[in-house]
Assembly symmetry: D2
């Protein structure tokens, strides 16, 4: 019997979420390293993986017109570069849960080398794109993976 395929491939160890990515051609550019906007796509995959793991059905909420999370601010530092076929881990911690927003720190790691680090502020918006309070259940789901420590 073979192991199952793993498209939902992140996991938590304590409050730290780790999500593996491999660098494919689509992720690189003519300078032979990963294109800078690619990290944002990877960070978003990790956040979507977290939503699924903590039981938040965001695709359903979008379909039902209940609203969804958006990135409202990002502060990104690019520290080192990755190359084709490198196996990276995206590490995510939830730093703060507010009434209408979340703060996370996300880091792309190659082994123990930090490649890219982002402080991300997420807001909840209605189908009109305007900020609103996030659902209580969603807020509690994120509170369960946040220890309130300042970083």
């Amino acid at each position: 019997m073979t192991a199952p395929l793993a498209p939902l491939c992140g996991r938590f160890e304590g409050l730290l979420h780790s999500y593996g990515v491999r660098v494919y051609h689509e992720d690189t550019d003519a300078t032979a390293v990963v294109y800078h906007a690619t990290y944002l796509r990877w960070f978003e995959r990790a956040r979507s993986d977290i939503l699924a793991l903590v039981g938040i059905d965001q695709p359903g909420a979008i379909d039902r017109g209940e609203g969804y999370y958006v990135v409202s601010e990002m502060a990104i530092r690019y520290l080192a570069s990755a190359r084709l076929a490198d196996a990276l881990v995206i590490e995510t911690r939830c730093d703060e849960v507010g009434a209408a927003s979340l703060r996370m720190t996300q880091t792309a790691m190659l082994g123990d080398k930090r490649l890219c680090e982002a402080k991300v502020r997420i807001g909840f918006v209605g189908p009109d794109g305007k900020p609103r309070r996030q659902p209580d259940e969603w807020r509690r789901a994120f509170a369960s993976i946040t220890d309130g420590t300042e970083r």
Copy 2:
């Protein structure tokens, strides 16, 4: 007085639509040439430009739940490669207009060198994603840029 910026930058000469693109970092990969899926993005930009030029409001039709065009088949040949900063022209001809579909030929040119050629079949679908007859007005708009010549 300065010339206006040109985000809608294609034009027709007779039945041939030409749309200029420049190769940016995002379009290339670690082999230093344009990534193969990039051509599909460029071809789609040219088709969206044609929709706007012939007076079809597809974004409005999507919002109103009236349906939209999708690619149903593509046969693509990659003939030569393009590099960072190359200025290309995407040439598009509409070959055939059916009740629920369109056929087009699209070519990415670097000067008079053919880089990539695609035969594209476009279908019209309802908001449920199921094929349906395209609006008469849309069909007529495409008929006006099609001479019915077999290619």
Copy 3:
């Protein structure tokens, strides 16, 4: 003890290679389904995964200027659409191994529904982008996953 993260997530069952992907925001467009060019990115990930599994070090060959594989032809049919968070499997079979080329069939599956199917012709090129014979070892690696059956 926790299971390892799986960034290299494909596997062979006999000659059929399966590679799991999940649909993220980056893969969709304003029509709420997967953008048509996304399938080419997924197909390429699966092919890169196969290269690694059969022991071909393509990133190294690119760095050493020995050449690499490129897509030379693709015939794609879009049959059904996928939505945010869907878990898909990319199935790949190698149909034919030539002196300088490979032919594969790749299919994106959602459960047992076929979403997108591509017949892909891959060519080997030198660092100048010109076709050349593929390395014998690479040809043999692909021959080992090809049964020569016409499809």
Copy 4:
């Protein structure tokens, strides 16, 4: 006689560089607005356009192994969203020219509405990816579009 196609479509008015983009399907996601990483691609197009306009041949420098610019830090605020077919202008100002770095402010505008603003720090690196002094000529080219005003 028809107007030329305009793939190099930005321009300076004084020290402000404006670059037009239109929102295509590839730029949006299932929430029907522009995907957050798309703005980074547009900002990079505008910066590449500036390089060409001030006479810096970055593609040539990459090919000759002389080095290139990379993004080292970005602080991004997302203020409002854009939709399919919107015509945006990317405004860029160079704020500071250092020995090995540049600072710019880039804003995506829809009419006079600010959609996304980024403070960008650019570093110059050698082919090994390590920071180095930028070429004098390149530094002077950027100094010519910088007035040294704090913003």
